[in-house]
Every structure is written in C-alpha cells, then in structure tokens.
Amino acid sequence: MSGDELCFLGAAELGRRMARREVSPVEVAAAMLARIERLDPALNGFLLVTEERALAEAREAEREIAAGGARGPLHGVPLALKDIFDTAGLRTTAGSRILADHVPARDATVVARLRAAGLVLLGKTNMHEFAYGVTNDNPHYGPSRNPWDRERSTGGSSGGSGAALAAGLCHVSLGTDTGGSIRIPAGACGVVGLKPTFGRVSRRGVWPLSWSLDTVGPMARSVEDAALLLNAIAGPDPEDEWCAARPAEDFTRDLERGLRGLAMGVPREWFFDGLDPDVEAAVRAAIGVLEREGACRVAASLPHVPEAHTAAHAMLAAEASAFHEPWLRERPEDYGADVRRALELGHLVSGVDYVNARRMQSVVRAEFLAALREADVLVAPTLPCAPLRVGEAASREPAVAWNRLVTPLNLAGLPAISVPCGLDRAGLPVGLQIVGRPFDEATVLRAARAFERATDWHARRPAL
C-alpha cells in the first residue's frame, strides 16, 4: 500500500490493521508527516506540526501493540486537534495573537482521553480567531484553504481540521461547534462532522466562546470513524459541571442497523428557503436515498426557527464579550477586525435582550422536541450554498447568513451531523445535516451511516 493510500485509509480500518500488526504506526505517522510537509503550505490547515512528538508516540504505540495488543480501536491512529484544545507543553493559540505564546500545563479532558486511547498527535489545526467566525480567514496566521478549490474558504471555525481531513493530512480530528463550527467546515470540505448533544462531551481545557452553546465533537472522513472518536471522548467529567452525568456508550452499536422503520422529519420552515439550486437538488436527492433505504418521511413544523439565529447570536455575542472583556479593554488592537467588532457588539446586548434570547431558546427547543416526538431524525442541508471565497464576508443577517441552517441546532442543544451528499456544478461539496433527539447520537450516526453505505460521496477526493 502506497503512502498516499495509507493517508486516506479509514481510521477504523487503519486501527484494525495496526492491531493485527499489518501496518506500522511509525510508517503511517511518517507518511502523514511527509504529506503534511508537501501539501499543507498551500492549504494552511496546520498551525503547529508536532513531528518529533508524533514519531515518538507512534513508536510507543508500535511497541505497546507488539507487546500486549492495542489499547482500543484507534491505538496508533493519527490525529489533528483544533488549536482551541489545551495540550500540555504544546502551544495553544485558539487562532489568536493574544494567546500566541500560551503553553498550557495540562491537557484538556478530551485530549487526555485521546492520549489514553493511544492516538498519535500530528499537530494543531488552524481556526477562526477564538472560534468567533465561520470563514477561517485568520488575520494572524493566514486563512485555511479548501482542498477542493484553494480560492474557497474551508468554512470555520474548525476549518483547518476540515482541510486536513479532506486532503488526507490526518485520519481524525476534534473540533468545537458553538454556531456550526464543526458542521460548516465538514460541509464545505466534504467530510463528516458531528456536533454532539449539549453536555455530552467535556469542555474542560477548551477555550470558551459561549458557555451556553459550546460543544466538542469529532470530525472524520467516515461515520464509523466519527462514532469511534465520540466513543473515546464522551462521558462524565467531574471537572466540568456542564458535562452530563450520563455514562459513556458504544456509538457504533447501531451503525449497520439500516433505516427500516425510521421516521425522518423534513422541516417545512426555514431549512429549504433560499437555497442554491445545486444544494437543494443534492439534498432532496439525499432524502430520496434515505427513503429508498427504508426511512419513512414525515413533515416537521418549526415556526419559531427563523428567530433561532438571532437568539443564538445574542447569547453568543454577550457571553463572548463577557469572557473577552479584560483583553478587549487592555489590548483591543491584538484582535482581528471582525472579531474585535463582534466583541464590541456584544457589549450593546442588554440584560433584557439576553434573557429574551434565552427565553427564545426554550421556545425553539420545545418545537424541535415536539417535531422529534413524531420523527426519529430531522434532515436538512448543512449550508445554503457553496463554500465562500477566501476573504468573502459571511453575513450575520439571518435570512442570508452562511450558518443559518446549523445555528438553530446549537440553540436547541441537539446532536447534528453533516455528511457529504453531493457536489455542485463547480465540483464543490454539499453537506446533508441529520439531527436527532437529545443524547441520541446513536440514531443520528445510524442514519448517516445508512446514507453513506448507499452512496459514494464520502469516498470522493479533491484533486491535489
């Protein structure tokens, strides 16, 4: 198997081969590092490549597997982390100038869990500054570029992870999603991204954007790989009081169950308004595939969902501004122009505005939960149109905002995945979003896997 073939092998399959000692973790890590060196200068997906450490971890994995078998299904598999997760002894910038020299003493809980599972860290990925934006046009470290078209944005804020996965520069990655920041780059880069239920995954050691909306989740090139990564990170954390007490589960358990008997809700409002025609055609075709695979289609009504974007924006703006207030006063020039403006805007949101936004969160959440009493999952596009051009501003106006189809699920706190479901006429990826009930990631993954099994969109690769 060539080095490039190893780089695109699924993480689950790679882990199986490593456990059987058919593939060497050191050989794979070396191939990944060589590929990063060759391709990443044009993509800018990585802010930090941890070459020596990756090779040392790979050698340790190889030795352990030879001595006593694999720790688990991802032992020895290469990983890239969004640069928002604290990594002990490794610079963690959150994509900012303000944290340019920040070297944490401790790993974030999720990083510690991935280390315990034996993954090999290749480096830290580029992101929108402090995760406060959806383009990944980072003024301090440069924009990440979409492997499908380098003039296009990867989306953000976990855009470096999207680029790295699409280009075969890592096998799995971890992102954060406050207003769509996992699903947007997953959709724009043609990979899989799962925002878990709010509270499912610990956020200790993750730089906050909005305490009420932030989530941590897996990004991968297949649904199985995303499920395995979620297995490794989910579960209670006594050091994070926002983290649910629910025990960890095996999220791969239902992957091959198929869709027979599954009720699939298609929203009447908002999610299909004003779409690019190619996006609409691809998503409606995907819904047809799910029906042919056995899902039963039902209508879903979400009348207040047009207000969700505004409510989430107000909460995010106020909470981000509260967190950043000391830095914004002392060193405002160290922020990029868009993030500084957004942080200033948050100061104008009043207490009444904030509470009304939280009240709207209850209304929107209740509507989603009512729809999910009739349906097991809801389906919708991830993005309304093709990836933006690098430097093109993403509007904050809800009717046309690039994140308008993903942010409502942050407000509702529900699990939602984006899987590749087509290419537009310019050859750019289109994403299908599948939403589930609280803590029912297993059904979301089951539906996504059934779609993946019936199509080959996940296997398409950009020409690099």
Binding site: A342, A357, R359, S362, V363, R365, L372
Partner: protein, 66 residues
C-alpha cells in the same frame, strides 16, 4: 416594530461607555449597521415570545428526555 431601528452613533458610544467600553466615532460607525440589525431583531422578541416562556435550565437535557 418591524423595521430596523436607527441607532445614532453617539448613542452607541454612550451605551458602550456605560458598559465600560471606549469607542471612538469611527468604530461606532463601523458597529452601527451590525447593532441596528441585531438589536432590531431582538426588539421583536418582546412581541413574539409567549408570556409564559422562561429560560431553559442550566443543563438543558440532563434527566429530562422528551
């Protein structure tokens, strides 16, 4: 209220100052369209929200499955 409210720049500067943030007129001007849009949309919530709507509990879903 349905249209965007007009928020004069000096009002934005005064509002920010009350909340501890110094803005010069240039920055206030850059902020104005964003503020008019967001605050205008938020102003509608008072009309749209059901009177009985309360904020959700902290954990959102813990031990409260649908």
């Amino acid at each position: 209220m349905t249209g965007k409210p007009e928020i004069p720049e000096d009002h934005i500067i005064a509002l920010a100052r009350r909340r501890g943030l110094a803005l010069d007129p240039e920055r206030a001007a850059a902020l104005r369209p964003l503020a008019e849009s967001l605050l205008g949309r938020l102003a509608r919530f008072a009309e749209i929200l059901p009177r009985e709507a309360a904020p959700p509990p902290l954990g959102l879903f813990e031990d409260r499955e649908p």
